[in-house]
Amino acid sequence: MPYLKDERPATMMVEGDWQVGAYRYKAPRLLEEFSAGMKEKKIIGSMCMGCGKVITQPRNICGRCHRRMEGRRVLSDWGTITCFVTSPPVEKGRYKIFGMDPVDTGTLKLGEILIPVFVRFDGSDSNINCLLLNAKPEEVFIGMRVKAVWAKELKGAMSDLEGVEPIREK
C-alpha cells in the first residue's frame, strides 16, 4: 500500500479567494405578496390548480403537475407543530453569522434556549420554519397546537411573523 504513509514533506500553501458576493440573483416577486400579507396579519400560500396543494412560503412551480402555482390562499394563523429542535443554552462563540457573533450584536441573549419548530398552518401542505415563543422546552411536543405571534409594529416584512406560541386554555 504505497500511498498510506505520508512520505512527502508538507506542501506549501497558496492563498486564493472565491468571491461569491459579486453575484446578482434574479428573484420572482412571490415573496412580495407574502410580505405584503404580513402587514395585514395574513399568511399567504400559493396553490396549484392541478393538484390543489397549498404551499407557504409561496413557491412558483408545482413539480408534480409541472405547472405554475397560480392560485393564492390565505391560511389560518393557527397550526400544528410537526417537528421541533431545542438548542442548548446560547453561549458566546457558538453561532456565527456573516462573520459576527449574534451575542455581541444583541440578536441573541446569553443562556437563551431557542426552539425552532416546523409549523403546519391549517390549510397548508407545507411547513414554515420559525421560532416557538413563550414556551418552556419541556412542554413542547409534536402535534402541539400553536398560533402565530405577530410583531407589535407591522412593517410588511417577513419579521412581522415573530414566531408561534402554544394555544393555552384561558
Binding site: W18, A22, R24, K26, A27, N60, I61, G63, H66, R68
Partner: protein, 382 residues
C-alpha cells in the same frame, strides 16, 4: 451504432443579455415548450440530464432547486457540469444502455448574474497562473489567435469577415441576441479592443439562455408515432490538456472528437456528406480553426471558406446560419442551442435562416478556455 436514438422535440429561449426572468421561469418555460414540441407529457419521461455550472449560477449544486422546473420530479436525474452537447451525449448513453427510453436534456446559463469571463478566470491553475494574473479566457484566446494568424498569414480582416457573416446571419434568427444585419468589416475592426487582435464584435456576447431537447429510443419513437424524428448518427467527445500544456495551434481534441463522430456516422468526406454545420465559436478566429479541424479546409486555409462565401447562408456548406455563438452565447447552453438549430434545419423549421433542404447536420459544443473540451454531434433526417 446498432440501436438508434432520435430527437423528438426541442425548444430554446429567446436569448438576450438580461432575460428578465428568474432561472426557474426560464428553464420551466423552455422545458414546457420542448415537451409540447415533442408531443409528450412529463409522465413519459424516464430520465433527465441537465447542464449548468455552480460557479456560473452562483449556487453550489446549481441544479438542485431547478429539478421541479425542468420536470424531474420523481424522475431519474443527473447533471453534467459543462456544455449541453455533453449532456446530450450522456443522455444518449443512458438510452443506448437501454435503461430508459425517453430523456430530457436541458442546459442553461444566466450570464447576467455573474460575468462568465470571471468564472473562466477561476478555471485557471490557482497555484501559479492565477497568482500571475495575466491569463483569462479572452487573453488566452487572443494568444491563440495571434499564433494562428502569424503562422498562416491570416489577417484581422479575415477574422472580421467571420464576425460579419455570423452577426448578419443572426439578424435573421429571432432567438439570437446580437443581431446586426448591416455590420461591416470596418465596424468590427473599430469596435472596442479587448486584447489584440480580439475586438468586441469578434467575441461572443454574454447572454442568458436555455435550451431543451427531448430524446427517445427507436422503439419509443415508433410507439409515439412522432413525425420528423431527427436521428443522432454519431457523437464524439475529447478533452485537451490544461491551457499552458497544450498545443494552442491545432484544436487537437476537436480533431479526435470529430473523428469518433464521423466514424460512428459513417462519414468519410465531411465537406460533401454534411449539409449544414452549427459550431460554437466563442471567438471569430475559432470558427476558422474549427472548420480546419473538422476537415473542411486545409490547415491555415479556413479563411478561404469565409472569403469565397462557401460557408455563407447561400454557399455550398453553410456554417452557423443561426449566427452561432457570436450571435448568442449562453455558455452551458450554447452547444445544445447548436443542436436545436440543426434539428430545425433538418425539419425545415428554421424560419428566416433556413438553408434549403438539409439531410445531415453537424452540431458542435465546446467548454474550457480556448475550446479545451469539444463535443461533436452528427444529426440526420429520416
Amino acid at each position: 451504432m446498432d440501436k438508434r436514438v432520435a430527437i423528438i422535440g426541442c425548444a430554446q429561449s429567446h436569448h438576450q443579455y438580461d432575460v428578465q426572468k428568474t432561472r426557474e421561469d426560464l428553464v420551466f418555460d423552455v422545458a414546457k415548450e420542448a415537451l409540447a414540441n415533442a408531443g409528450i407529457l412529463r409522465e413519459e419521461l424516464g430520465t433527465v440530464v441537465t447542464a449548468s455550472t455552480d460557479f456560473l449560477d452562483g449556487r453550489t449544486i446549481s441544479n438542485v432547486f431547478l429539478s421541479m422546473a425542468v420536470g424531474a420530479f420523481l424522475k431519474d436525474e443527473s447533471k453534467v457540469e459543462e456544455d449541453g452537447a455533453t449532456a446530450l451525449q450522456y443522455a444518449l448513453m443512458k438510452l443506448l444502455a437501454g435503461a430508459y427510453d425517453v430523456a430530457l436534456v436541458e442546459a442553461h446559463t444566466v450570464g447576467w448574474q455573474f460575468n462568465p469571463h470571471q468564472v473562466s478566470f477561476y478555471t485557471i491553475d490557482p497555484l501559479v497562473d492565477r497568482q500571475v494574473g495575466l491569463l483569462n479566457d479572452i487573453s488566452a484566446a487572443a494568444i491563440q489567435a495571434r499564433i494562428y494568424m502569424d503562422k498562416y498569414g491570416v489577417s484581422q480582416e479575415d477574422l472580421a469577415a467571420v464576425a460579419v457573416k455570423n452577426l448578419s446571419n443572426a439578424a435573421s434568427n429571432p432567438f439570437a441576441s446580437r443581431r446586426l444585419p448591416d455590420v461591416s468589416v470596418s465596424e468590427v475592426l473599430k469596435s472596442k479592443l479587448y486584447y489584440e487582435p480580439l475586438r468586441e464584435l469578434m467575441i461572443s456576447p454574454v447572454t442568458d439562455g436555455c435550451a431543451v431537447v427531448i430524446l427517445a429510443s427507436e422503439d419509443k419513437v415508433r410507439k409515439l408515432g412522432c413525425c420528423c424524428p431527427v436521428w443522432i448518427e454519431g457523437v464524439g467527445n475529447c478533452q485537451d490538456a490544461y491551457l499552458r500544456d497544450r498545443n494552442l495551434l491545432g484544436m487537437d481534441s476537436l480533431k479526435k472528437a470529430s473523428a469518433s463522430a464521423f466514424a460512428m456516422a459513417g462519414i468519410q468526406d465531411p465537406f460533401n456528406d454534411l449539409d449544414v454545420l452549427e459550431i460554437s465559436e466563442r471567438y471569430a478566429h475559432e470558427e476558422l480553426m474549427i472548420c480546419e479541424a473538422l476537415g473542411l479546409a486545409r490547415e491555415g486555409r479556413g479563411k478561404e471558406l469565409v472569403n469565397k462565401g462557401v460557408t455563407s447562408m447561400c454557399g455550398e456548406l453553410p456554417v452557423n446560419p443561426s449566427g452561432g455563438a457570436l450571435g448568442a452565447d449562453p455558455i452551458c447552453a450554447t452547444g445544445l442551442v447548436r443542436v436545436v438549430e440543426c434539428v430545425k434545419q433538418i425539419r425545415g423549421e428554421a424560419d428566416g435562416h433556413q438553408v434549403g433542404s438539409v439531410k445531415r447536420a453537424l452540431a458542435h459544443g465546446q467548454f474550457g478556455i480556448c475550446a479545451q473540451k469539444n463535443t461533436v454531434v452528427i444529426l440526420g433526417g429520416e
